[in-house]
Amino acid sequence: MSRTTRLEDLLAALFRYGTWLASATIGLGFALMLIDARFGTRNLAGFPNMWIATTGIVLLILLPVLSVLLMLLVFVRDGNSRLAVPAGFVLAVILSGAVLGFRALLRPGP
């Protein structure tokens, strides 16, 4: 099996299990929310149900980022600097986007 094929298999596994985990987390958060609203219970999970759903959304956003990180690690391990450089660059740009958003959040409104 070639190295590229191994990387594709690793990425496929990451996306498959990651998507299910993120979806299940979001689903759990909303299911608890609906149960609480329907039966008048409060915080069955012990902490705000919306936080559980938000964690699932963050997991979903992180999945493509983790795929780039996985590619970077595989390229570095294989000594393939020609592809490790673009992978590192993409990660840096994604991180910059998050930092820009965070700075906008801290900026006082008009």
Binding site: T4, T5, L7, E8, D9, L11, A12, A13, F15, R16, G18, T19, A22, S23, I26, G27, G29, F30, M33, L34, A37, M50, A53, T54, G56, I57, V58, L60, I61, L62, L63, P64, V65, S67, V68, M71, R82, L83, P86, A87, F89, V90, V93, I94, L95, S96, G97, A98, V99, L100, G101, F102, A104, L105
Partner: protein, 282 residues
């Protein structure tokens, strides 16, 4: 938020992703117009939810395409340098550009999508393709092959005009961040026409890339508070389910009939968006 609205968001996302999945598109092109015009959700919140939907569609479809070796991950990471830079530029511009301009741009992209839907995609003829003119295409080993089940053999292909592809990908990333769409409508023609990749490879590689591009802007939208869990959560769940349903329905529905239906929906949404720009409410 009322559970009725959450169920509506979930149902709309299932339908949008199923429709999109049938023709290899992410659902963002439908999600934003529906949420803003029918759900009366603020456009930046709708864009944030749509980016989550794009990531869900991309991640949900990626495993099958990666295992079938249709996705060229080496080419994807090279092109992602341009799409993520475009997305970062889009994030910076999103807060500056006036909202009517965003609606107008969205209407233009909807009409472009309808036009591309009508134009049939064909694999480039190998006889007309010149040899790669950049030694680094060979150095990065961007050329590859994939097993074609219909032909029953391995199909080799060459990657062409990477610099032109990078320029087009920057534009695709910019539009993706501004409008919250996957920009497959720009990425796939860039790979089909400019880079001369086989259709199956460009579709699979685009699917892989739209998730990374959307994640680049979704991080910023999330940090800025534009990704509202009560809206984005049901949209994400609906998109995962819709993408699975769409891929299954794809095998049993006539492609031409579906294409015609799509064009009508895209043009109708485009006209509705233009009405919004000019303050006309039906």
């Amino acid at each position: 938020m009322a559970s009725g609205l959450m169920l509506w968001l979930f149902a709309v996302s299932v339908a949008a992703s199923a429709l999109g999945g049938m023709l290899g598109m992410a659902s963002g092109i439908f999600i934003v117009p529906i949420l803003t015009m029918f759900g009366h959700i603020e456009i930046h919140t709708a864009i944030g939810a749509s980016l989550i939907s794009v990531i869900a569609c991309s991640c949900g479809g990626a495993p099958r395409l990666l295992r079938s070796r249709l996705t060229n991950v080496r080419l994807a990471i090279v092109l992602e340098t341009a799409t993520t830079m475009g997305a970062l530029t889009g994030v910076l511009l999103a807060g500056i550009l006036p909202i009517p301009f965003l609606y107008f741009l969205f209407a233009a992209i909807l009409f472009l999508s309808a036009q591309q839907m009508l134009a049939r995609r064909r694999d480039p003829s190998p006889a007309t393709i010149p040899a790669p003119d950049r030694p680094w295409i060979v150095a990065l080993r961007l050329d590859s092959s994939y097993p074609d089940r219909e032909l029953g053999r391995e199909v080799s292909y060459r990657v062409h005009r990477v610099p032109l592809g990078l320029i087009l990908m920057f534009g695709a990333g910019l539009i993706s961040a501004l409008l919250g769409i996957g920009s497959g409508v720009l990425k796939i023609p860039a790979m089909d026409t400019a880079m001369r990749l086989p259709i199956k490879v460009s579709s699979a590689t685009s699917n892989f890339m739209i998730g990374v591009t959307a994640a680049a802007s979704a991080g910023a939208y999330f940090m800025r508070g534009n990704i509202v869990t009560a809206v984005a959560g049901p949209v994400a769940l609906g998109s995962v389910l819709g993408a699975i349903v769409g891929a299954r329905v794809l095998t049993i529905v006539s492609n031409d009939r579906l294409r015609f239906l799509f064009v009508i929906v895209l043009v109708a949404l485009g006209i509705q968006m233009l009405f919004t720009v000019f303050g006309v409410h039906l």
